[in-house]
Amino acid sequence: MKTKTFQPGDKIKIQTKSKSWEGYILQSHDPEIILLKLKSGYNIGLRESEILDATIIKSTDKRNNTKLVSQRNDLQLPKVAIVITGGTISSRLDPKSGGVIPTDKGEILNIAPDLKKICNPIIVNPFTKFSENMSYKDWKAITETCKKFIEDKTISGIIITHGTDFLHYTAAALAFFIQNLNKPIALTYSQRSIDRASTDAALNLLCAAKYATSDIAEIALIGHETTSDDTCIAMPATKVRKMHTSKRDAFKIINDSPIARITKDNIKILKEFNARNNNTPKFDTKFEEKVTLIKIHPGQDPSIIDFYQSQGYKGIILEVTGIGQVPTKDAKFNWLPKIKKAISSGMTICATAQTINGRLNPNVYTAGRDLQKTGIIFLKDMLSETALIKLSWVLGHKQWNKKKKMLEKISNEFNDKIIK
């Protein structure tokens, strides 16, 4: 192995039978292949076995030479805290390894230099994680970071940048953890990485900054309204879901309507909102993690409920069929007895719609009425993901009346007037 001692980033010269190559070594995951960046910028692979001789011309330069935007903060502009948590919006390619690494926290300003024309950003980075790796502990950490900025009267608003996959869970968690809010909190993301000119992060960040400096004291997810880079919408934190694997406008409001439409220059209010105020917000992060979400499918065995019970689970969100049914006595497995038994032994089971859109109504079919008799709580038009978070939060409070609290509107998770 003539190239064994080389480090990614080393400038080297390689002699093969046919040609002499000069370039920078890249990290290769195949020991038989040497990856090389040529002067032209192209990356190529050479077989280790074909290399006759290899020498280092210059060792890797460990210095990080990323040039940051030198534009000064405008101290006259409102102060906005940017909480960076990870995800595509704060990942970049590592040229030396060829892999994707977290960016330097200040790099987010390179994507949208105009951000400093809207606000005076203060960047913090409590942790860096892809959103699919996040759970309760991380939502709690974000809440604590927010608490500091919510209580700081000099801060106009907060922007949280986040991976997209589980972003709507974080949005729902913050909506229950932080109440009586006095200033805007914007959650935003990107679907195209920030190392490309077409990144959606630029518009999303500018719109999030517009929102964070607005008078809307609500938690909202800010992102592209369509595939075009012209408008974003402010989506209610408990009524939003990732509905596409890759599109810029992946997040859609379910069973509700946008709070505002935002461009980089303008914010247009679209409905009543909780205005900026001098309230003292309440922080409540009590949480029961032994809660799960089950989607009912044809032929499914309800013994899964027994399993969760045996594992000490306290609550289940059941994604039921249609307008509010489960398979009953004519099906291969009848779910009713198991649900009834679990509830009577102390488990909280709630129903949400697996159709995603629309409201449950147990009164339409006999099967629905029979399901209601088990003691299950029908969560009307609440999203399953929001319901999972809410049930965990409710069950974190031992003294609360579970059913009453689940059906109480805490953070716009119910909408009595669905228009589409």
Partner: protein
């Protein structure tokens, strides 16, 4: 205005871009150009981003100072990949194979492993803000007629860019500048069509050599499955003379203008040497032979890996498979046919009518290349073509001496009129001798050739020239 190319130290190389005749490179959308109205339009912004070396590339910085907002026209032959709303699918296998064939024909060495790269382009011609490109092969050559070997430095497979619909400022802009929409408009139909880029070494020392190299590479490309017609092949020329800097000239609409453009560019470079103002830059060829500044020459800082596509491994099996079924060049086919002693017109006809494979099949069994060539081309009626199997049957009968060679054309004409081979072979019950005597009596005193013409005309296709000749010889002697 010709120059002494040797004296001024002309160094020149070609960059040839050729579209392949397959579906798109990173999705399964068809490679169709549209003239009709688009289904809808979208608007996008491209922002300058820092390259992986931590610098903004000079060419990218230049583009960033221009437009940032663009309109894209979308068709029902596009999908989310061209819209930059979905990661690339696995690279088109057929396009990869065609590229490998071209690499073999250009005597190139193929990289065992390569990486799809993103070449940052923010002039709006790519929705993603980059063009995907991969280096496939290196260090090949083509031989031009002088016997000189022209080095092929690199061979890339890349995606074509989006077509610009209009760049012109609408007339209303001057009247109402505030309401004017200056966003350039692009169609997404061309974006993603597989493109092979071939770069020669800087060893072309005269416009003639440049032209010859371009023609030779063009011939090689046309032997493979590539798109044909206007806009499917684009040639760029890199030019420098002693003491100047390398300039890339793009956008030759007419290859015949190459010589004039090169001469004008040399004059321009001679001027910039005097003024000490030479720059590495990309220039656009204009119809009158002059050029205009397009952008600075891009550097390595604009390239970074396409992280959504795995490393491209080109296995020995794939290399061998593509080598086995290499298409032949038109010039090779010509010299193959010349060996059979065919005249140049017949050779042209065979190649033009794509009859080479049939010719090979028939000459394999029957050693009568000239007749076979005629049967495949000249003797065929325009409407009803006779199948190769039927021709084989006729050749069989000739070798058994059941048909005379001179009757073949007549027999083929009958077959194409719907008559069976058996019937077509039957001699007509024409008493040629008494018919000829009749004509001789009616029109006395003509030449033998004139009588020949009259008789052949009367029994169009039913008698052979040889028979008539024999009868006339007998009667006229």
């Amino acid at each position: 205005m010709k120059h002494d190319y040797k004296k001024i130290g002309l160094k020149s190389g070609l960059e040839i871009h050729q579209q392949l005749d397959t579906h798109k490179l990173f999705c399964s959308c068809p490679s169709i150009l549209r003239q009709d109205k688009p289904q809808y339009e979208i608007q996008r912004t491209l922002n300058p981003v820092i390259g992986e070396t931590g610098e903004i590339d000079t060419a990218v910085a230049h583009e960033a100072s221009q437009n940032k907002n663009f309109i894209y026209q979308v068709y029902d032959t596009n999908c989310l990949v061209e819209l930059d709303e979905e990661p690339p699918h696995t690279i088109n296998q057929e396009a990869t194979k065609i590229t490998l064939q071209i690499a073999h024909l250009l005597n190139c060495k193929i990289f065992p492993v390569t990486q799809v790269m993103r070449k940052t382009v923010i002039d709006g011609s790519n929705t993603s803000g980059f063009q995907r490109t991969a280096l496939i092969a290196h260090d090949g050559y083509v031989e031009i007629s002088s016997g000189k070997k022209i080095a092929i430095d690199y061979l890339m497979l890349e995606e074509d860019s989006a077509r610009k619909v209009t760049d012109h400022r609408p007339a209303t802009c001057d009247l109402q500048p505030a309401t004017c929409d200056l966003r350039p408009i692009f169609k997404l139909d061309r974006l993603g069509i597989p493109l092979v880029e071939i770069t020669t070494g800087p060893h072309l020392h005269s416009p003639d050599e440049i032209k010859e190299a371009a023609l030779k590479i063009g011939e090689i490309l046309r032997a493979c499955k590539v798109k044909r017609g206007i806009g499917t092949i684009r040639q760029d020329v890199n030019i420098s003379i002693k003491d100047s800097k390398r300039v890339e000239i793009k956008g030759f609409q007419n290859p015949k203008m190459m010589q004039k453009t090169i001469d004008i560019e040399i004059t321009r470079q001679q001027k910039c040497i005097k003024e000490k103002s030479c720059k590495n830059e990309v220039r656009n060829a204009l119809p009158d032979g002059t050029t205009e500044f397009l952008r600075p020459m891009p550097g390595a800082a604009r390239m970074y890996p396409e992280t959504d596509h795995p490393l491209l491994k080109i296995t020995r099996d794939l290399i061998n498979e593509t080598k086995k079924n290499l298409p032949k060049l038109a010039s090779e086919n010509t010299s193959y046919l010349q060996k059979f002693g065919l005249n140049p017109e017949l050779i042209k006809l065979i190649l033009k009518q794509n009859k080479l494979e049939d010719f090979k099949t028939l000459t394999h069994e029957h050693n009568n290349p000239n007749l076979i060539a005629k049967m495949l081309t000249l003797f065929q009626s325009k409407k009803e073509k006779i199948s190769t199997d039927k021709l084989e049957e006729i050749l069989e009968k000739i070798s058994k001496k059941e048909i005379h060679e001179t009757d073949v054309k007549t027999i083929m004409q009958k077959i194409s009129q719907g008559i069976s081979l058996k019937e077509a072979m039957e001699k007509p019950s024409i008493d040629l001798k008494s018919e000829a005597q009749k004509i001789l009596k009616e029109k006395p005193g003509l030449t033998q050739g004139a009588y020949m013409g009259l008789i052949m005309g009367k029994f169009n296709g039913q008698v052979s020239g040889k028979e008539v000749m024999e009868v006339l010889r007998e009667l006229c002697s």
